[in-house]
């Protein structure tokens, strides 16, 4: 009975072989193919490998912020002296999680690490939880994203809920109190998901917005469908809310981010206060309220894993942003800031930051409609480009495979033709940015997912930027 697990050894051995061959032949697909093969040989390979970790697995899910939050957690793990792995490539379906775990397995089919910190796609989260039986799960938010794939926000939310319900009894989960749909998960006192949840939230009205965005996903009460009253909105539909109809209100978070200070798009500071009332000041080299929420989630999770506040602060102070999250590059002498804006919430947050926190007279937006972006680009009509047009005198460089749809949207939003530059290709768009940028002020570029890949490629090809790698 206790003999070697031959199926597992075959899965691990052959999976690794395929991985190294595909890397050697530069075939690409190295982030999922080993997972495909290994799972075909032993469907339980991920479950078995995960069970060999000394600490366990922490899964990070939710529509926006999972890559940044998972990267923060890995950085903290390093500072705390733990051995931690992950899937920084962002390959976050079950095959990608399998490949990432397999990659760290030794020849005894064990993963000689303390933690695997894996971001997982929202729709795959229930399956990942069922297989991995993680030690912790982080649920960040539920926004509209790629509706052609995940169809509806409610469907995303119910998957998140089902992931929480599949957690083993001894595990914890970290949830966002500011997102009403996430806060409804485990709201029932006495339920298992209630006992195991640790809520985080922002708690500083000075960092709040004027109100909900023009199209918000969760302005309705997730419990009774009545209209929620928001007294504070921090980002998207996240803030302090109450339902006058059924009495559902924002639950008090155990871990709160107070004294939030935003320094443009470059950095932020906040003071985390835990359930015992202990405070820790934290600086993060990332801008925007949204990243304050990611840092709060990372703090809540890391302390549940056993890290100290000081370790969190020291790790985040020198944190390297994840792929395309506020990455600076130089193009023809001008500074360019690449920002991922892959869905209405992400784009809305970036636009709000640009309107208030940034000084560049020119901004590029690249809209692609590849499979990884979501083929449907209707969402650009839901984001508040009108607000940006009103806020500042700006020129927009329009780019991407759906440049003309974007130009039409900009024209409707109030950008006059002389404030729109049409540059479908990344190189031309970068040229236009460089030409109009103010010296010393990075010109922001908001890019959908495959547009980000194309721009990175363009920068590398021209020697303007090193291939981007996350420090693991």
């Amino acid at each position: 009975m206790a003999g070697p697990d031959l199926r597992l050894s075959a899965a691990v051995g052959l999976g690794k072989l395929v991985g190294s061959a595909s890397r050697r032949l530069r075939l690409g697909g190295g982030t999922t193919l080993p997972g495909d093969v290994a799972r075909a040989i032993d469907p339980r390979v991920l479950a078995k490998l995960a069970a060999s970790l000394t600490g366990g697995t922490v899964l990070v899910t939710g529509t926006n912020g999972k890559t940044s939050t998972a990267a923060m957690l890995r950085a903290i793990a390093g500072t705390a002296g733990w051995r931690a792995g992950g899937n920084p490539s962002g390959s976050n379906l079950v095959f990608g999680l399998t490949a990432a775990t397999l990659d760290r397995a030794d020849r005894h089919c064990r993963v000689p690490l303390d933690w695997m910190i894996l971001e997982v796609d929202e729709l795959s989260a229930p399956q990942a939880v069922a297989e991995i039986q993680p030690r912790g799960l982080v649920v960040l938010n539920a926004f509209r994203d790629q509706l052609d794939r995940s169809f509806e926000v409610e469907q995303i939310a119910s998957r998140l809920e089902s992931a929480v319900n599949r957690l083993p009894p001894t595990s914890f989960w970290v949830g966002n109190a500011d997102d009403p749909r996430v806060a409804l998960i485990g709201a029932e006192p006495g339920s298992r998901s209630h006992r195991s949840r640790i809520l985080f939230g922002l708690d500083d009205p000075s960092a709040a917005r004027a109100g909900l965005p023009v199209v918000a996903d969760a302005r309705d009460c997730p419990r009774c469908r009545g209209e929620l009253e928001f007294t504070t909105v921090y980002y998207a539909h996240c803030g302090e809310y109450a339902c006058p109809n059924c009495g559902f209100t924002r639950p008090a978070p155990a871990v709160r981010a107070t004294q939030i200070q935003l320094f443009g798009l470059d950095s932020l500071q906040l003071r985390m206060v835990d359930a015992a009332g202990l405070g820790t000041s934290i600086s993060v080299p990332l801008g925007g309220v949204f990243n304050a929420a990611n840092a709060a989630a990372a703090f809540a999770t890391a302390t549940a894993m056993g890290a100290t506040g000081a370790q969190v602060n020291s790790a985040l102070a020198t944190f390297q942003p994840a792929f395309g999250r506020s990455q600076l590059a130089t193009w023809k002498g001008a500074r360019v800031r690449l920002m991922l804006a892959k869905n209405p919430a992400g784009m809305g947050e970036n636009l709000a930051s640009l309107a208030t926190l940034d000084a560049s007279p020119v901004v590029a937006i690249a809209l692609n409609d590849g499979i990884a972006d979501g083929r449907d680009i209707s969402w650009i009509w839901d984001v508040d480009l009108e607000g940006l047009a009103r806020a500042r005198r700006l020129t927009i460089v329009a780019s991407g495979t759906r440049t003309r749809d974007l130009v039409l949207r900009l024209a409707y939003a109030g950008f006059e033709p002389d404030r729109i530059r049409v540059c479908p290709e990344p190189g031309a768009a970068l040229d236009a940015l460089a030409e109009m940028a103010t010296p010393g002020v990075p010109a922001p570029a908001l890019l959908t997912y495959t547009a980000m890949l194309n721009w990175q490629r363009q920068l590398v090809r021209s020697g303007a930027s090193q291939p981007f790698r996350e420090a693991v």
Binding site: D148, N368, D369, R404, D405, V407, P424
Partner: protein, 270 residues
């Protein structure tokens, strides 16, 4: 400058606004404004008092929604607002329905569980929940009866409902690429007089401005005004439409948009 005032009744803007439907309302307002017409937008939601706003409207729009919302909306739409809406439409007020809003124009929607959700019954058709969703870019050759100058309509569809038209109902057009009403009938949408429904979002009206003008013309006629609309410079709309057609026909081709010109020149589409 005309002092004509039109009123657009936007039905359930909170519940039925899933796929950029706000863009449809923006298109109507902008195209009216550019012609010196004043189009006021009135939100008609689930509130009991909202039904009283209907008689003053010169036309209506209803967008797409989540399944969850569709049931609540259908009850309110058919029960509480049905009579006054039907009266307004019989007087010539145009009604445009997109996606779930299109399905609500038929007699009923039969869900996967076998429940029948009633519709307004303005178009002789009904919808049955399908097992797989029809998702993707959709290209439609518009019905000649609509008299559109450039009769190719383009947008995105994302629906599990299969809409069956009763014999004799005029579809909005023939499917060139995509699923359309059922995925196999070759038809997309339906229209009859001043009622028009379609699965095309994207949103529909900014890139298919002729349909926006169809709505505005009908609303003017309903308001007792001259339905003749001044020509507009549609070069940006046209460029977006041609680009979308190119992406529909060749979704995986690397972007080669030079075809569409580089500047913001007239018509753009070379």
């Amino acid at each position: 400058m005309s002092s004509t005032r039109l009123v657009l009744g936007w039905l359930y803007p909170r519940e039925m606004n899933l796929y950029g439907d706000r863009g449809n309302v923006l298109a109507l307002t902008h195209r009216a404004e550019r012609r010196g017409l004043h189009l006021e937008v009135v939100m008609i939601g689930l509130e009991a008092e909202a039904a009283s706003l209907i008689p003053a409207c010169s036309g209506f729009f209803i967008g797409g929604g989540q399944d969850l919302d569709q049931v609540t909306v259908a009850e309110d739409l058919v029960g509480r607002k049905g009579p006054s809406l039907t009266t307004a439409i019989s007087k010539g007020a145009p009604l445009l329905g997109v996606c779930a809003g299109f399905q609500l124009l038929g007699s009923h929607y039969l869900t996967q569980e076998g429940t029948s959700i009633p519709g307004l019954g303005l178009l002789p058709m009904h919808t049955v929940a399908g097992s797989e969703r029809l998702v993707g870019n959709l290209l439609v050759e518009a019905d000649p009866g609509l008299g559109l100058r450039a009769p190719l309509l383009v947008g995105f569809e994302n629906h599990s409902g299969r809409t069956e038209l009763a014999p004799g109902v005029t579809p909005l057009g023939r499917v060139v690429r995509g699923g359309g009403n059922t995925g196999h009938s070759g038809f997309e949408g339906a229209w009859c007089g001043n009622v028009l429904g379609t699965y095309l979002h994207g949103p529909l009206l900014p890139k298919n401005p002729q349909l926006a003008d169809w709505w505005l013309g009908a609303a003017l006629a309903c308001a007792g005004e001259d339905p003749e609309l001044a020509e507009l410079d549609d070069s940006l709309e046209e460029a977006a439409r041609v680009e979308a057609i190119a992406r529909t026909m060749h979704p995986d081709r690397a972007p080669r948009l030079r075809l569409l010109g580089r500047g913001l020149g007239p018509r753009g589409a070379g």
